[in-house]
């Protein structure tokens, strides 16, 4: 197997707050190959967005980030921030949820794309405009010359997300992180945006991380899926394997809670209990108190993420 594009080992993030230290991420390890789409799935508060923010260096000052390794395209990012800031927006890019607020409200969208282009390469003013329009055309925005002049408030949510994508891809990054890119969009637009992201990623042999709470969406668009719960990565496998051979009780719960074409509303199960309070001292397995398979030693013995098949790892002492 070749060297992965992104390799993360033992990543932990703590937030220091007025009411104590919140252990938002604990010992998270994963990797992404070139050209691969990885889905990271979990309910709100599972730490999936924090994970992407930590990778992008977007967390506030009160976040403490620790990791054994973070390497991206041969560059060590587990050190001074300057390494990250040299590639951010160029090699490593990100799009966000609620695209309408994620764009500068008082600047023409074309100018915002130009800003990114000019930052990352020696582009003249006239070239920049042409390149920005080309970027808009690439995300299949009709009439890109006219849209160049538009302000975000003049565009629909789906159109704003396309602008975001155009901006993020303007410098042809090798990894695109998409944080809940379809949240806040209507259902038909969601599919259009997701198809667009997949097509563009495939076209330019990029890799992508799709952060979502929607397991079905991840299963449809991703090559591999990582499931997160309360700051732990509890299971990671190829989308196909995960669908048929999920091994973690939490993943089972997620699937049971996900509607498919042939489930009735009544069949949908909810996962009992809530996420644990991450300010407290936590047991090695953070799913413990919601789990129906727990044994006495789950409370004490360490639970590492262990491989149980080719490209299938799970963080559970008693997997399904």
């Amino acid at each position: 197997m070749s060297v992965p594009l992104l390799q993360v080992d033992g990543l932990s993030v703590n937030f220091r707050t007025r009411s104590g230290t919140v252990k938002v991420l604990d010992d998270v390890s994963f990797s992404i190959d070139k050209g691969e789409i990885l889905g990271i799935v979990g309910e709100s508060g599972s730490g999936k967005s924090v994970l992407s923010y930590a990778l992008m260096g977007l967390l506030d000052d009160n976040a403490q980030i620790k990791a054994d390794t973070i390497t991206f395209g041969g560059i060590d990012l587990n050190g001074p921030a300057s390494a990250l800031s040299a590639i951010r927006g160029r090699e490593l890019s990100m799009i966000f949820q609620s695209p309408r607020t994620a764009l500068n409200p008082i600047m023409k969208v074309g100018k915002q794309i130009e800003d990114v282009l000019r930052r990352h390469g020696p582009v003249s003013r006239s070239n920049a405009k042409a390149a920005a329009i080309a970027a808009l055309a690439r995300v299949r925005i009709p009439d890109p010359e006219r849209r160049y002049e538009a302000y975000p408030f003049e565009l629909s949510g789906g159109m704003c997300q396309r602008v975001m994508i155009a901006m993020a891809l303007s410098c042809s990054p090798s990894l695109l992180i998409a944080d809940e890119p379809t949240t806040g969009l209507d259902v038909t637009t969601q599919a259009v945006v997701m198809d667009l992201i997949r097509d563009l990623v495939r076209e330019s042999r990029m890799s992508s991380i799709l952060i979502t709470h929607d397991l079905a969406l991840a299963a449809e668009y991703c090559d591999r899926i990582a499931v997160m719960h309360a700051g732990h990565m509890v299971e990671i496998a190829s989308a196909r394997t995960l669908r048929s051979h999920f091994a973690h009780p939490y993943t089972r719960g997620l699937f049971a809670a996900t509607p498919t074409a042939d489930t009735e509303l009544n069949d949908l199960a909810s996962i009992p209990g809530n996420l644990p309070d991450l300010r407290l001292d936590l047991p090695p397995c953070r799913f413990l108190h919601r789990c129906d398979r727990r044994q006495a030693d789950c409370e004490t013995a360490p639970v590492p993420l262990q491989a149980i098949g080719t490209d299938h790892s799970v963080r559970c002492r008693y997997p399904l």
């Binding site: 966000f96 409200p105 008082i106 600047m107 930052r119 003049e154």
Partner: protein, 340 residues
């Protein structure tokens, strides 16, 4: 076209305020304690002369008629005659307006020049020394009465240290020649007249009153600048800009600051209200020959036409300044510009 239309609607919104202001100033004059006719007839009045004055002033007519009369006189620029100066009130006010405007603008300039960078610096370095300094200045600045600051500055810089000139008006005319009136602003007129010594002198006269007045406006400007800059910096679009790898300078000044200017410009309406009011107090301390000092004198000598004219003129000035603020907001914010 759309923009022109939205400008027109914006200007039209000032009309009800203008009407309101005219009604209120009319009512204020009618609310005078006692019988206005007795007052205007003077101390040696007889019942006959009072009746005559009442007829002459139209006070025997119904209220709506009096209002119509008042409004039509206003339309002709007639604000009545000042009892103490014997001049038309409008003439007095117009002659004194430039002095007040020059002072107010200098104070605003001072407040913006200090308040904006202070608020921005505090927001970009939260928790650092400059942030604490900003917070202290904001809370202390809001607690100091303008007149007290003015007196304190005069005491220290004129009486104790002798750095500042005597706080008596805009220019000491025993040493300097008052420039011929072009704009009415001494700073400009002295330069136009080529009299640099007089320019220096009038600038020196302006420093202390501008600071006294400006300090009062500095607090709200710095507070809003800091708050809106903080909000702007933690906004989604600044997060996007960081994710796209834009430089910190570009994010702070190109993205955050421009957005943060909207609340700052909006608060300027309130700041003008402060400044025009506090102007009266500062002019009093520095014997500044502006309309504020004129009004204080008018209030004390019960020169009602002058007070009424002063309140009206200030209100109209304030409406115009608010209009300017609206236009500035529209210039910054496309959402306002197109929505109308």
């Amino acid at each position: 076209m759309k923009i022109v239309l939205s400008l027109a609607t914006r200007i039209a919104t000032a009309v009800p305020s203008l009407i309101g202001v005219i009604v209120v100033t009319f009512l204020l004059a009618r609310a005078l304690p006692g019988d206005a006719a007795v007052y205007y007839a003077g101390s040696s009045a007889t019942p006959e002369s009072i009746a005559q004055v009442r007829k002459a002033l139209g006070l025997d007519k119904p209220l709506w008629f009096q209002f119509g009369d008042y409004a039509s006189r206003l339309a002709h620029g007639d604000l009545g005659t000042s009892l103490s100066s014997g001049q038309p009130v409008l003439h007095d006010l117009v002659a004194r307006l430039p002095a007040s405007m020059e002072l107010t603008l200098c104070a605003l300039l001072f407040a913006m020049a200090i308040g904006l960078p202070l608020g921005i610096a505090a927001a970009t370095r939260p928790g650092k020394a400059i942030d604490h300094i900003c917070r202290v200045i904001v809370s202390v600045g809001a607690a100091f009465p303008t007149f007290f600051v003015a007196l304190g500055l005069v005491y220290v810089f004129y009486f104790r240290l002798g750095i500042a000139p005597e706080p008596l008006g805009r220019l000491n005319d025993t040493y300097f020649t008052v420039p011929p009136t072009v704009t009415g602003f001494y700073l400009i007129d002295t330069i136009l007249a080529g009299d640099l010594a007089a320019f220096d002198a009038s600038l020196a006269q302006l420093v202390l009153p501008s600071i006294s007045l400006g300090l009062f406006a500095l607090a709200p400007i710095a507070r809003i600048a800091r708050a809106s800059m903080l909000a702007s910096l933690s906004s989604d679009f600044c997060r996007t800009a960081r994710a796209m790898g834009l430089s910190r300078t570009r994010i702070v000044y190109g993205y955050a600051l421009r957005n943060a200017m909207l609340p700052v410009v909006n608060i300027l309406g309130m700041v003008f209200s402060f400044l025009l009011g506090a102007n009266v107090l500062v002019e009093q301390v520095f014997a500044w020959p502006g309309i504020g000092a004129y009004a204080v004198n008018a209030v004390i000598t019960s020169d009602y036409a002058a007070v009424q004219g002063f309140v009206l003129m200030m209100a109209i000035l304030y409406i115009l300044l608010n209009l300017a603020v609206d236009l500035a907001v529209a210039a910054i914010d496309p959402r306002v510009r197109y929505d109308g």
